[in-house]
């Protein structure tokens, strides 16, 4: 590497695209998103990339950086550059739109396949009393603050070979639904998570947990689903 410069390779085009190389000044405070922005502003005005909040809340800017899926707005270059070199690609396991932008539609389709919240109370009633220290609340909380960035989905080996697999983020959401005492049909939520492409497809490699930028453990959520499914079967409640 030339002193003070980063060697940056960025995927350009669609599936049949190629890498293009750029030299970008290295700076003291610089995230991977800043590098991509600088390439757009200085070299490639039509470079497609996605970002929104800049602070790790919206989960829009995930890309593959030196081989690993990451949120780029919160990834400092110094933490990931390999002797001043960065290779930036779109997320894996998702169709490519252009350059660094993936189509996340299937990710969200699977997210809602595990079901969305349906309660029993209405807006005319006070919220349900839920003890903050209860086991179920703690389990629901452990999985709750997902930013749906799809990093875990891109990291998961099973997603790569089994296109029906719902993936870690959706199943992590399912675990909160199963533990949410306000949900009208928690057993139904469990059954959807146990069905085809559900929790039993997980091989517990733990890549999701390893790469989750907000420190969630979909692995633990999926293990919880498997455990609950097992006891549910023993009790003869599931089909």
């Amino acid at each position: 590497m030339e002193a003070g410069l980063l060697d940056v390779r960025i995927w350009r085009g669609g599936d049949e695209g190629a890498f293009a190389s750029y030299r970008v000044p290295a700076r003291e405070n610089q995230t991977v998103l800043d590098v991509v922005t600088e390439v757009q502003r200085c070299f490639e005005p039509s470079l497609a990339y996605r970002f929104s909040c800049r602070v790790g809340v919206c989960g829009s800017c995930a890309m593959t950086v030196n081989g690993a899926p990451r949120w780029t707005c919160r990834t400092h270059v110094k933490r990931v550059a390999d002797d001043g070199a960065l290779t930036i690609e779109p997320l894996r396991h998702l169709p490519l739109v252009k350059d660094l932008v993936s189509d996340v539609e299937t990710f969200f389709d699977k997210w809602t396949q595990v079901g969305v919240f349906e309660g029993t109370a209405t807006r005319a009633e006070p919220p349900a009393a839920v003890a903050p220290t209860s086991r179920e609340r703690a389990a629901a909380d452990a999985a709750i603050q997902c930013i749906n960035c799809a990093v875990c989905y891109a990291a998961c080996d099973v997603v790569g070979w089994d296109h029906d697999y719902l993936g870690p983020a959706a199943l992590n959401r399912a675990w909160t639904l199963v533990n949410d005492v306000r949900v009208a049909d928690r057993h139904g939520a469990l059954e959807r998570a146990m069905g085809e492409g559900g929790c039993h497809s997980c091989h517990s490699h733990g890549a999701c947990m390893e790469h989750c930028p907000v420190g969630l453990s979909p692995t633990a959520s999926i293990a919880g689903l498997k455990r609950t499914a097992f006891w549910s079967l023993l009790k003869g409640r599931a089909a």
């Binding site: 757009q40 005005p45 970002f51 800049r54 809340v57 919206c58 209405t122 006070p126 839920v130 749906n148």
Partner: protein, 587 residues
């Protein structure tokens, strides 16, 4: 130019709290209608509801009351809020928070007895802010996004609206012209009702908090359509935006309010505390006061290496700070800063626009068929927004607008024939950069940002505002000469940067114009040459509209139809809003 044409019954622009609530309420009220949500980014991902850290103000607790929430909102807004809207906000918040919990599925934090936990937030006389940890917005927007995705709502993601197209017969709005960002093509969506819920966002300032897509596009479209914008001089600055230098997008993003509340110190470049010299409450004064103190210190030259001040938490114990603010500490660490044990450079940062489109309590605007909700609207917050009233505003009025649009379409909705000349003009405007030589687009945005920061920012005066107005007009002329390469329009961020800058310039001019006209200092608006608040009884608000190519401004009297200055709906000092209790102290 080829334009794809579609029809829908209700078109919603924006997918923050306002847009998504409108979609849900419209589908519930009229399940047979065809409803489309168009959003500049991905559904639920672009917009600031997701970024809410603090929470949601609502009078739920036994000892709290709607009246008290309302008085806090009026006093905090320096008597400029439109009172019927502020009252509707406070009453609507109760139903909306229960809807969020019981029907949408948000799982807010609880007290030991299982009821909703409500925390203290600045400027309020009662602990009424419902929250989910310190990342409340993620819970709200994720659950809303799921609900909307699970329903038969059409989605036009990564579609940017560029023009309201009026009806050929002048009877109202016919639809909206958009750019399909992925395809790089134009799309016209004809709709019987349209909701403006794009979230404004003061991103024309050097330091700003909103997400990247928020560039006042909706306000600029409203202005071009001849709608009135009110209170536009009222731009809220958050005192502690992260400072990382000019070349990083992390600069300007918020470090939360609670850091000061917990006892954090603000130090100048000489590493000395200084805020007590500006206000007795020091670091714990309200956002506007602390922002002015920091700005004054920076102007005096006592700055950090990057030109701001420091926030210091270490005296509270690094481990304790890390336990109290895990999200903030991790965010700083990811960016290379040690918040728990070291010093982090911060700067005031433009956060929220209290002003916006004038709208009525049912969400309707002066343009028949066009409704508005959320940060694009003016009048709810007056001169200052209380922390926790922003997400309440977008969700309460978004839901109301959804109900109103469903009723409107049932009652008098029809597809109006578009004014084809206006449609063509909208396309021509977006085509301006193509075919011209490229120029320094980003340098131009930086110059606008610097002008707004220096002369239309935290502290203002007449001469600065006059200079700024001249410069802003020059920037507009310059922009028209800056081209964008017309090689690949698909997902071309530089084309959108150009369009963003055009919107920002248009609204920057409105802010400067309103700030020049308001000859007093209220809430977020501080005129160094006119520092008095002026008599509350004769309060006025600014109203700007565009006629032909010029801005027109009028000063309209504020109506006190629920409570007059000097009065309160609360009996006794115990429940009085904070700024009434401490007369004279700005909040």
């Amino acid at each position: 130019m080829q334009v794809e044409r579609h029809q829908t019954d209700i078109l919603i622009l924006g997918s923050g709290g306002a847009g998504l609530f409108a979609a849900l309420h419209a589908t519930q009220a009229a399940p047979n209608l065809d409803i489309t949500v168009a959003v500049k980014g991905l559904l639920g991902k672009s917009g600031c509801t997701r970024m809410v850290q603090g929470g949601y103000n609502v009078a739920l607790a036994n000892d709290d009351s709607i009246e008290r929430h309302f008085m806090d909102t009026i006093v905090g807004g320096k008597w400029l809020p439109r009172q019927d809207l502020a009252w509707r906000l406070c009453t609507g918040a109760v139903e909306r928070i229960q809807e969020l919990e019981n029907e949408i599925g948000c799982f807010f934090d609880r007290n030991a007895d299982g009821t909703l936990h409500q925390k203290a937030f600045a400027g309020q006389s009662f602990d009424r802010t419902v929250h989910k940890g310190d990342l409340t917005g993620i819970e709200i927007i994720n659950r809303l996004m799921e609900q909307v995705r699970a329903r038969a709502v059409r989605r036009l993601e990564e579609h940017r609206a560029i023009e309201f197209v009026p009806a050929a017969d002048g009877s109202g709005i016919a639809g909206v012209l958009l750019i399909d960002v992925r395809g790089g093509t134009y799309r016209f969506v004809q709709a019987k009702a349209v909701l403006l819920a794009t979230g404004a966002g003061p991103s024309m300032y050097l330091y700003h908090t909103p997400s990247g897509e928020k560039t006042c596009d909706g306000l600029a479209m409203a202005l071009r359509s001849g709608l009135d914008l009110r209170d536009m001089e009222m731009v809220q600055f958050h005192p502690t935006g992260l400072l990382g230098g000019p070349d990083t997008r992390m600069t300007g993003t918020v470090l939360e309010e609670g850091l000061r509340g917990a006892g954090g110190h603000i130090l100048n470049g000489e590493r000395e505390r200084f805020l007590a010299g500006y206000d007795p409450a020091g670091e714990r004064a309200t956002r506007d006061v602390v922002s002015r103190g920091i700005y004054a210190e920076m102007r005096a030259g006592r700055t950090t290496p990057m030109g701001g001040v420091y926030i210091s938490m270490a005296h509270l114990g690094a481990e304790k700070v890390a336990a109290m603010f895990p999200g903030m500490v991790k965010r700083c660490a990811d960016c290379g800063f040690d918040l728990a044990g070291g010093l982090v450079e911060v700067v005031p940062t433009a956060h929220y626009m209290m002003g916006g489109v004038e709208f009525d309590i049912d969400g309707s605007t002066a343009l028949p068929g066009l409704f508005a909700a959320g940060e694009d609207c003016g009048g709810v917050h007056g001169a200052n927004r209380l922390g926790g009233n922003g997400v309440a505003n977008s969700t309460v009025f978004g839901g109301i607008a959804g109900d109103s649009m469903a009723a409107f379409v049932g009652r008098e909705g029809r597809w109006r024939e578009p004014d084809e000349a206006a449609l063509d003009a909208g396309i021509a405007r977006a085509e301006v950069p193509f075919g011209r030589p490229t120029g320094d687009l980003f340098g131009l945005r930086d110059r606008l940002a610097r002008t707004m920061w220096d002369d239309v920012g935290v502290i203002r005066d007449r001469s600065g505002l006059e200079v700024a107005l001249m410069r802003i007009r020059d920037y507009r002329a310059e922009l028209r000469e800056v081209g964008v390469v017309d090689a690949d329009r698909r997902f071309n961020p530089t084309w959108h940067d150009w369009l963003n800058l055009e919107s920002l310039i248009d609204i920057a001019e409105v802010i400067a114009r309103a700030a020049l006209a308001r000859e007093d200092s209220r809430g977020a608006h501080f005129r160094e040459d006119l520092p008095e608040a002026g008599p509350l009884e004769t309060s006025i608000y600014t109203r700007v509209r565009r006629q032909a190519d010029a801005l027109e401004l009028e000063l309209a009297p504020v109506a006190f139809d629920i409570v007059r200055p000097g009065e309160s709906l609360i009996e006794g000092a115990a429940g009085a809003p904070p700024a009434l209790a401490e007369a004279g102290s700005p909040g």
